[in-house]
């Protein structure tokens, strides 16, 4: 047994780390460090820097811009990306729509969409959830009716992350309501957000951030050529995506960075007795527990990766545990940060012009609120537990 990266892997990590550090613009770095709100331009700027380097979609085939890195290198890259503290790479185009097109898309669709996703020309969002269909996604009702060379779409999506920034949305829609199983009769459709009949309405979350939306479709006409794969086979596409590339759901790199920030903060912050808070055993023990949790997650993650590398088999339902543990750790860190600032966690919205907030501390409470989402989205942690219970344990 050897838990260490090889010399080559370490060299690769150092190279990636050095490049990322050298090329992440300072203003973006600061904004991320202070939990500022990242807009479309911020996100695309970083995306384009990586695209230019050829690193924006490592997992794609080489002919479409991929890097040919092996599994471990790809994992290392993603962890370093999280660790450096850059704006996130928005997954909807790069790791959702892209892989779907690569696997199921027609040549014409690949040529039309993939280069624009790669270069950061099109911004994508994901239209799956509906008011009545969250965990029970297959019950979705948004309807697409074939009319000549077009589909006519009617219905509503909800919780659409960054829908207000998006040029395109990929949707699951119902094309046949008379199927025996609700998973049948669903299709995967690409829709231009500028199409007449689409209305995007912001949905304010409790941290007051602008992040998710409701998207309404009223007689939206979509060229039939935007159907991916076959009509009524959208569930196959959706399932492929769910099983695809979930090795990084634990977000170990990002949590390492947040934990390091928290430690630095707690070292500078006085505790009740005036000594640095980090020396307060009650606080320190909680911090240490999270750190050990994170270590266990990282090693489990690497163990799965190693298994996958040897067998060529994805770990299947067990990646759900990476999502469960990863999100619990992310939330625990935001909770500890709130505890660390203590009474200074309360200021929330300035009133009047002369109000000034310390950017970092002022970001902690909204972040604590916002991160409650992590155990809800991308398959709630309850649903992830159901998956393990059913698929792995056979209950």
């Amino acid at each position: 047994m050897d838990l260490n990266y090889s010399q080559e892997e370490l060299a690769f990590r150092d190279e990636v780390r050095a490049w990322l550090n050298a090329n992440l613009p300072q203003d973006l770095r600061d904004k991320v460090a202070n939990y500022g709100e990242l807009g479309r331009e911020d996100l695309l700027r970083w995306h384009r820097i990586l695209a230019k380097k050829g690193w924006v979609a490592p997992a794609w085939p080489k002919e479409w811009g991929g890097t040919d890195w092996n599994l471990v290198q790809r994992y290392i890259f993603e962890e370093e990306l999280g660790f450096v503290g850059s704006p996130p790479l928005i997954p909807f185009g790069l790791s959702m729509c892209g892989p779907v097109l690569l696997r199921f898309g027609s040549e014409a669709q690949k040529r039309r969409f993939l280069p624009r996703i790669y270069d950061g020309e099109d911004f994508w969002c994901q239209g799956y959830s509906e008011p009545g269909s969250g965990s029970d996604l297959a019950s979705l009702k948004t309807k697409a009716t074939r009319d000549g060379n077009e589909y006519v779409v009617n219905g509503q999506k909800i919780w659409t992350t960054l829908g207000h920034c998006a040029d395109w949305i990929f949707c699951l829609v119902r094309t046949d309501s008379n199927m025996a199983k609700k998973q049948e009769g669903i299709s995967f459709l690409l829709i231009d957000m500028k199409s007449p009949g689409i209305t995007v309405r912001p949905l304010v979350l409790m941290d007051l951030g602008r992040e998710v939306n409701e998207v309404f479709f009223e007689d939206v006409r979509v060229p039939a050529g935007n159907l991916v794969y076959e009509e009524n086979k959208g569930w196959t596409v959706a399932k492929y995506l769910l099983g695809h590339e979930r090795m990084n759901t634990g977000r170990v790199g990002a949590s390492k960075r947040e934990l390091a920030k928290l430690k630095a903060f707690a070292s500078a912050q006085p505790g009740n007795d005036g000594e640095p808070l980090i020396r307060d055993p009650r606080f320190r023990d909680k911090l240490t527990r999270v750190e050990v949790e994170l270590m266990a997650l990282e090693i489990t993650n690497l163990r799965f990766l190693d298994q996958m590398r040897r067998t060529g088999q994805p770990p299947g339902a067990d990646v759900s545990m990476l999502k469960i543990k990863g999100t619990e750790i992310q939330q625990a860190i935001t909770e500890l940060a709130m505890q660390a600032v203590g009474p200074l966690a309360q200021p929330f919205v300035p009133v009047g012009s002369d109000a000034e907030f310390d950017a970092f501390t002022a970001g902690l409470a909204p972040r604590y609120c916002n991160y409650r989402k992590t155990t809800i989205y991308a398959g709630s942690n309850e649903i992830q537990r159901n998956i393990i219970s059913k698929m792995t344990l056979g209950l």
Binding site: D136, R282, P347, V351
Partner: protein, 373 residues
């Protein structure tokens, strides 16, 4: 043994609850939060009429001489409705005036508070002091005709709305209190996470008269400790009301929200979760009784502190547990600011830390509990 409220206590709680249900519903509250003042003059006037502002103040100034137990039902109703009026801040400062003030100070402040014509704030917390009440760096120097205050106070609840502010400062003899007019202070105001108004106050060569000194010079710490324990007992009761709301509304959601063709409350995984919330609520209620009753009638300071800390430990845990679970079990809807439950989440998050988080009170309890062993 008797855990019931007296008839009077119950009557008051009921009428406050009815008033809030009618005139302080969630939609109205949203408007109040968004208004310039961030609180409601009408609601304050009504609370004064009902005797709520006078309840914890001495009878000789028009009050009712009540204690924490008398206020439990009211605070619970406040927690349910998420009242954002500066009640806690006013009560803390007013009780300090009542305890420490001279006749002139008490006479000029207390009747007006009772009648709902004056709101107050207590400026004590400083940057870096966390929950340690003894840490005061703000200084008060004697100067001709009075005192000069120098320093900074942070997260002073209700400060933007207060006509007078009780400010703590260190003098040669120790921590002392000063009754300062709002106009003499420079504020940086904001809305807090739980949608109340607060401010940071910078005190730069603030001159106050000799008559501003409240109580004995250097004698403020025990008073601050007492009033903070009292306020902690009040927020424990308030938390119970907010926790109850979070449990009830989540239970309702489990019964009505359908996924996979059935109410999500039919999933046993969620049934156990709501049961644990329900248990947390009952235990929080028990401990809120402990805090209030001992804040009123403990035989010693030590007994009071032990009880209040024990209660706050359980309440802080329950606040976090119930607020997080109520959001989680609502799925995406729980994150939405449209739903009251996300605002209850925010209030509970603040209460969990207000006047000391669980770790702070664990420290105080453990130290007292193991004294002399």
């Amino acid at each position: 043994m008797n855990f019931d409220y007296s008839e009077e206590q119950q009557l008051l709680a009921d009428s406050v609850r009815r008033f809030l249900a009618k005139d302080y519903d969630f939609e109205t509250r949203k408007k109040i939060v968004a208004s310039d003042e961030g609180c409601s003059a009408e609601a304050w006037a009504t609370l004064a009429e009902m005797g709520v502002t006078g309840l914890p103040l001495p009878a000789e100034f028009g009050g009712f001489g009540g204690g924490a137990v008398d206020l439990m039902g009211v605070m619970e109703a406040f927690g349910d409705a998420l009242v954002v009026e500066p009640y806690l801040a006013t009560v803390m400062a007013a009780r300090l005036v009542a305890r420490a003030g001279n006749e002139a100070q008490r006479g000029s402040v207390l009747p007006r508070v009772v009648e709902g014509r004056m709101r107050l704030a207590l400026a004590h917390t400083e940057r870096g002091a966390r929950y340690n009440l003894a840490q005061v760096k703000t200084a008060a120097k004697p100067v001709a005709g009075g005192w000069q205050l120098e320093g900074e106070k942070v997260v002073v609840l209700g400060a933007p709305l207060a006509e007078k502010v009780v400010v703590s400062a260190r003098t040669a003899k120790g921590i002392s209190l000063f009754l300062v007019d709002h106009g003499a202070l420079r504020l940086r105001a904001y809305r807090t996470l739980d949608e109340m108004r607060a401010a940071d106050i910078s005190l730069q060569a603030v001159k106050v008269g000799a008559d501003a000194l409240l109580g004995e010079e250097g004698g403020a710490l025990p008073l601050l400790e007492e009033v903070t324990d009292f306020a902690t007992a009040l927020v424990c009761a308030e938390a119970v009301g907010a926790i109850k709301f979070a449990c009830d509304t989540t239970l309702e959601y489990l019964k009505t929200r359908k996924q996979f063709g059935v109410p999500i409350g039919t999933f046993q995984a969620l049934q156990h979760r709501i049961v644990d919330m329900y248990i947390a609520h009952e235990q929080a209620r028990s401990m809120a009784c402990v805090a209030a009753s001992r804040a009123d009638s403990a035989q010693s300071v030590r007994e009071r502190q032990l009880a209040v800390s024990a209660a706050k430990i359980k309440i802080a845990d329950a606040c976090r547990h119930v607020s997080q679970e109520s959001v989680q079990l609502h799925g995406g809807m729980g994150m939405s600011e449209e739903l009251k439950v996300s605002h209850t989440f925010r209030r509970l998050t603040v209460i969990a830390q207000q006047f000391g988080d669980a770790e702070h009170h664990l420290g105080r309890f453990a130290a007292l509990d193991t004294e002399g062993t």
